[in-house]
């Protein structure tokens, strides 16, 4: 989403599909685990199983990066770790700022997964003056007033927004104006950004709602499949006590 590139203009057309890019971190994680166990090589079948994807897909993904495998043997784990890291830009250091140090922001600051792969929490920023100076995860919180200076001083190009929904867009605008070109948004809002700025969003509520949709359908199907077979899961138990099936006649509001 929000991958607003018009084309592959010049610079060499090594266009790696977006879907592939999204899987590279998955492969990298699996490979890192193998590396720690000192496994020298791995086949596409094994690695695909570890990453939870189809092996043909994995091979095609790697083919976009170049031919790094050896037929009859597989892939050299260490070499592949390096190649993927380089492709993802993880061989360099990425200073990151987190804006909005509430429950979620603090949890993110404490999250170990950040530092593990080239990402470094350069600063924590919050609008609450009472928070200023207070250390979270060993880093003192700074006030929003200094946002622009902080971005500039640290050469930050990746920002994480963990503010309430209402504050997200203004914060986003200021981050972008200060030079941030990639944003990870945890606030439940659609962010408007100029071309050239990438936004990825993480929304817990949306994920749950998608799960609820499938859950409801499972319950509906089980209920529709007659009461012959006894309900086994909690979903069936739930469906039994649900007042309204998934496709009942509209009970509440009706338009004019």
């Amino acid at each position: 989403m929000a991958t607003g590139r018009t084309h592959r203009p010049a610079t060499r057309s090594r266009g790696i599909p977006e879907a592939t890019v999204a899987r590279l971190p998955l492969y990298l994680r699996a490979l890192t685990a193998l590396s720690e166990r000192s496994v020298p090589t791995v086949s596409s079948e094994e690695l695909a199983a570890a990453a939870g994807v189809n092996s043909a897909k994995l091979r095609k993904d790697f083919s976009y990066l170049g031919s790094y495998g050896t037929r009859g043997v597989g892939y050299d784990v260490e070499y592949l770790v390096y190649q993927i890291s380089r492709e993802l830009g993880l061989t360099q250091d990425w200073p990151v700022v987190i804006v909005g140090i509430g429950n979620l922001g603090a949890a993110l600051a404490n999250y170990g997964g950040f530092a593990s792969r080239g990402f470094r929490v350069a600063a924590l920023i919050d609008a609450d003056p009472a928070m200023a100076g207070k250390p979270v995860a060993g880093i003192p919180v700074q006030h929003t007033d200094d946002l622009e200076r902080i971005i500039q001083d640290n050469g930050v190009s990746i920002g994480v927004i963990a503010t309430p929904a209402g504050a997200a867009q203004p914060v986003c605008d200021r981050l972008v104006a200060a030079g941030v070109t990639s944003i990870l948004n945890f606030a439940p809002t659609v962010l408007n950004v100029p071309e050239g700025v990438d936004v990825r969003k993480v929304d817990l509520s949306i994920e749950l709602q998608i799960l609820a949709f499938h859950e409801q359908r499972k319950a509906g199907e089980e209920a529709a499949a007659d009461g012959a077979l006894p309900p086994a899961g909690a979903a069936a138990r739930k469906a039994a006590q649900a007042d309204q099936g998934p496709d009942g006649a509209a009970p509440a509001v009706m338009p004019a």
Copy 2:
């Protein structure tokens, strides 16, 4: 992902595309905002802008749910809120358990977005005996030993995993065995689940790595576009001080 349904077997083939389902919560959020402002109707164009999608896509999405619009006028906001809520299964109550009450788990428990839409945190579960009984977000933490009983007693079908990576799969197995059929996974691991169980994953590290990829490419393109135009953003500043371009000759490890 992990939408392991073989087909639409029977029950009526009202197959709503997965991509559409993923957007429904987005529409619902925008519509709820309109509803709170007492806006009676909205056109596909306006709503699409608010949700950040193409208007044709929005209309097609709604067409899967039925014909709820009025040509020349638009959509009735209240009616649409109800229809989407019903389709997503949000007219009923979904008890949810959160397993793993560390930084992230606690933040999730405190997150207001849960309760807002039919989701209720039924229980918090952690493996640390020292946590047992301690209230988080007003809910006492219970020990992992009681996991099965808690699931059963509360009729839980949706579980949230916020444990360390190593604990995720065992916890997942126990949740599924106890009747949970939908899992939201925050642990950085691939979860193996039997057919019929849906898993959605949220991985902060992966999102950042995807951003880093695009960020690196932007920096590379800017650098390749000659030094004619002065570097404007922080990314360009960063690229200038980066030791290695995105496509330099392999410097470190090399395979045999």
